[in-house]
């Protein structure tokens, strides 16, 4: 069971890296986009692409944390104690970034917007870097079991620092690749080229960084290195191949499958790490997946919970992304938010109503094109998804209350 939960944890981390990481990468490109005028177009694109989805993507992090501390409390407590400083810095980045991002859209004065924008962008570097150093520290075996004090070595080794840089690079790379698609969807050829170039550059840098990190592991944790070139080698190869393939796509201008390849590359590296480390949780200590603290029932409950999450969240996320992809989700304007044409008797909810010309939309010409030339299969599924989600939640709530009544408020507590 512990193995299953370990795999789930790694899967959630992967999802966070692929989705949340790209949001951080967006901040990176925002940071380097240049002055007000020059940087305006890419910033607008980044803004529009991230605003509706960053909170959802962020939730994978919360899930990873919760699974970590529930299933492997001993390892969790040790990491949180030994690596407290870099984790605090990562948290600082999360706060600043979220705040900058949330307020920027509403702030009116240019100077305020600049300050908030800079906060958002700068802090987008903080979080991936310091999370990277912690992961690097774990991989290098720098987190002691039963840690009782913060240790500098847990995150300042060569492996740690390189992993930090690698994370920043990977986030930027993913973001650039995704943004190419966003630009293409808006028929903005200029931005497409803009981000293609950046994706190429960051792809090369990230590839180089991953090699450097591997080399650093050779001296900091030879066992892990051996396994990475041994049992986990197929995954490393997949990662390399996906990275090179994506680069080839970028050079030849092929779009289809590019995002998948890029995400696959990042995922393969993470899973390579997981497989190489298995079954150890904190290398250099005796803490493994099975002895890190949680009893069987907790692990089973986590697996069940994750099943429910997949059942409920997956269709909802797909709905969100499909609406976002078809540019159904747009920000407000001075009048609060503007309504869709209403009431529209006889239209299927969400079913891709062609936007009426009279609609007071900003940039409505562009969006009409974007949404009317597709048959919105995803849109028609929306009410069904909603219904299923509601039904499952309702069933869960009623089952839970019924069971609770049967179990009663007994506080069974045995101490030996």
């Amino acid at each position: 069971m512990a193995e299953v939960v370990g795999a789930i944890l790694l899967a959630v981390i992967t999802l966070y890296a692929i989705f949340g990481g790209a949001d951080f990468g967006g901040g990176f490109w925002d940071l380097v986009a240049g002055g007000d005028r020059r940087g305006r177009a890419p910033r607008d694109l980044i803004d529009e692409a991230i605003t509706p989805v960053w909170e959802t993507n962020h939730m994978w992090l919360i899930f990873a944390l919760v699974i970590f501390w529930t299933a492997f409390p001993d390892a969790f407590a040790s990491v949180m104690t030994a690596a407290a400083l870099p984790i605090w810095l990562a948290v600082l980045g999360i706060v600043l970034r979220g705040a900058g991002f949330a307020f920027r859209a509403e702030a009116r004065r240019l100077s305020a917007q600049r300050a908030l924008g800079a906060t958002f962008a700068l802090s987008s570097l903080l979080t991936p870097f310091f999370m990277g150093t912690v992961i690097g520290g774990i991989a290098a075996g720098q987190i002691p079991a039963d840690a009782t004090s913060a240790s500098r070595s847990s995150w300042t080794g060569t492996t740690s620092l390189l992993t930090g840089l690698l994370f920043v690079g990977a986030c930027a790379y993913l973001a650039a690749v995704y943004l190419i698609g966003e630009a293409a969807r808006r028929d903005d050829h200029h931005l497409e080229v803009y981000f293609t170039r950046r994706a190429q550059a960051s792809g090369v840098v990230t590839g180089a960084l991953s090699f450097a990190t591997l080399l650093a592991l050779h001296s900091s944790n030879p066992t892990l290195f051996d396994r990475l070139t041994g049992r986990a080698f197929p995954l490393v190869i997949v990662g390399e191949a996906a990275g090179l393939g994506a680069l080839a796509f970028l050079l030849t201008g092929r779009r289809r499958g590019l995002r998948v390849l890029a995400a696959l590359g990042v995922a393969a590296v993470l899973w390579g790490w997981g497989v190489a480390q298995y079954p150890t949780l904190l290398p250099g200590t005796g803490i493994t997946l099975t002895n890190a603290g949680a009893p069987h029932a907790t692990l089973v409950a986590l697996v069940v919970l994750f099943g429910v999450v997949v059942l409920l969240v997956a269709p909802s996320v797909l709905l969100l992304f499909s609406l976002q992809g078809r540019r159904r989700l747009v920000g407000g304007d001075a009048e609060g938010t503007v309504l869709a044409p209403w009431p529209l008797p006889g239209t299927l909810p969400l079913s891709g109503t062609p936007l009426s010309g009279a609609q007071p939309l900003q940039g409505s010409v562009r969006s009409q094109r974007a949404s009317s030339d597709r048959t919105d299969a995803g849109g028609r599924a929306a009410p069904v998804v909603l219904l299923v989600v509601l039904l499952v939640v309702g069933a869960l709530v009623s089952a839970v209350t019924r069971l609770a009544r049967r179990v009663g408020p007994v506080a069974a507590r045995r101490r030996t």
Partner: protein
């Protein structure tokens, strides 16, 4: 264990202050996250059902404010998640496998909440009619589910159960009993109603200010009435649940109750104090009602109430006066809110309109802050009253706290950061309100924000 608590390590106090600061801040936004979607949905429902453009306009504007509040709620909540490990590794090491499960359920609900919030907020313009309304319903449902899960953790810390511990390790867990522990029965409804009260009275407050300033129009009256009615209708239930809570605590956590009510020695015919400060073994000031406390606990003055002297000093919560005054404040403010609601009800009954007296509107303005103050006081009672335990009777706060050092530093940064965050949130909300009022439509040309477009049409045209 208890000895360790007495000679509390240097990190314990700053860690507690930091936890209290961050939680006290998050909880306000959490209330908005739990109840604001419902308020907005009610407005949207009225708007669509009755083709009431004022209500619809309110719903749209409120959801814009909700967007900001939810984002700040997500950020501060994330800080809390990290703090569980960064500040309380001892708690997580020992009981992470138990209290982690409700947190997992919380994660599920907040996930749904985040997704549908995004769809709802950004879907106003391009999702047609009722479909848009329905995308809001899961937000309201998952807000309640999320609140239940987090409060499950907190109530479990007050009444731990549902697990077996052997030689210091958790060997078995019963998730149902963890989630629906003994204290959950009152904490969950009490918190959720509190969230609706805070949100309702707070939003109503804003419009009451406008009305007092002379903006007596349909827009302001509607903006006041929708949240106010919702909150005022729940207030009596809140007082009932609170009363139940107090009685449960008298039997389950007697020392906490003794500190709340200034009961030093166990006995019957115990007096009730309203106000008053306890120092050097005496109560100064305040109103003393003989026998009342026993009466409230067991419906008879003969009821025995346990005093705090039944346990050694090291196992009592610090500063009974803080608990007592916080408890009094919560009950007092709750009663004030109840009276405000009753006033409106009576006038409605007689005249089918809202009261005209200035005093009523002043009360309505105070209502929002009062609800927040009541809620924060309630948390002080719960959390400080649990001291010196973090998990009641099992693990002391001192044993749970981090030993990695530097908490004074993080505390200072957090306080400064949250001050700015809070101020910025208020400034942004006020900017929005001002913008709505002047109904200006031209966006400045800026690097951040959507491209300038044609000014939006007046609503009346959109609706046709």
């Amino acid at each position: 264990m208890v000895a360790a608590a007495a000679g509390a390590g240097s990190e314990v106090l700053p860690a507690r202050v930091q936890m209290a600061t961050t939680l006290g801040f998050h909880i306000i936004l959490a209330c908005m996250g739990i109840a604001f979607p419902t308020v907005v949905l009610v407005a949207e429902f009225i708007g669509r059902r009755r083709s009431d453009e004022t209500a619809l306009l309110l719903a749209r504007r409120w959801s814009q404010a909700m967007g900001v509040l939810v984002a700040v709620g997500a950020i501060t909540g994330t800080v809390l998640s990290f703090e569980m490990g960064l500040l309380w590794p001892g708690l997580m090491r020992q009981y992470g496998a138990v209290l982690g499960l409700p947190f997992g359920v919380e994660g599920l609900f907040f996930f749904l909440e985040a997704i549908f919030t995004a769809i709802y907020l950004y879907g106003w313009r391009r999702l047609p009619g009722w479909a848009h309304f329905w995308t809001g319903v899961p937000i309201a449902v998952s807000g309640i589910g999320g609140a239940m899960s987090v409060v499950a953790v907190n109530s479990w810390m007050n009444q731990p159960g549902g697990f077996t511990e052997q030689a210091g390790r958790i060997v078995a867990v019963n998730p149902w009993q963890v989630f629906f522990n003994h204290a959950a029965a009152y904490e969950m409804p009490h918190m959720i109603i509190a969230a609706y009260m805070v949100t309702g009275f707070m939003v109503a407050s804003v419009y009451a200010v406008g009305i007092l300033r002379g903006r007596r129009n349909r827009y302001h009256y509607t903006g006041f009435a929708i949240p106010f009615v919702l909150a005022a209708a729940l207030t009596p239930f809140q007082l009932l649940v609170g009363d139940t809570a107090a009685r449960s605590i008298a039997s389950d956590q007697p020392v906490k109750f003794a500190s709340m009510e200034y009961v030093a020695r166990t006995g019957s015919d115990v007096p009730e104090y309203i106000g008053g400060i306890f120092v050097n073994g005496r109560v100064y000031g305040g109103l003393k009602i003989p026998g009342m406390d026993s009466l409230l606990v067991g419906f008879s003055t003969d009821t025995r109430v346990v005093g705090w002297e039944s346990v050694p000093a090291a196992e009592r919560p610090p500063a009974p006066w803080l608990l007592h005054l916080a408890f009094n404040a919560m009950v007092g403010l709750g009663t004030l809110l109840l009276l405000t609601g009753l006033w409106a009800l009576v006038v409605w009954w007689r005249h089918r309109r809202l009261p005209r007296q200035r005093l009523f509107w002043l009360l309505a303005v105070v209502g929002g802050p009062a609800a927040i103050a009541a809620m924060e006081s309630g948390w002080v009672v719960t959390e400080v009253g649990r001291q010196p335990w973090v998990v009641y009777g099992l693990l002391t706060t001192a044993d749970a706290a981090t030993t990695s050092g530097g908490v004074v530093g993080t505390l200072s940064i957090i306080v400064a950061l949250y001050a700015v965050l809070g101020a910025a949130t208020i400034v942004i909300l006020r900017t929005m309100a001002r913008r709505w009022r002047s109904s200006e439509t031209q966006q400045p040309t800026v690097p951040y924000g959507p491209p300038p477009g044609p000014p939006s049409q007046p609503l009346s045209k959109v609706g046709t």
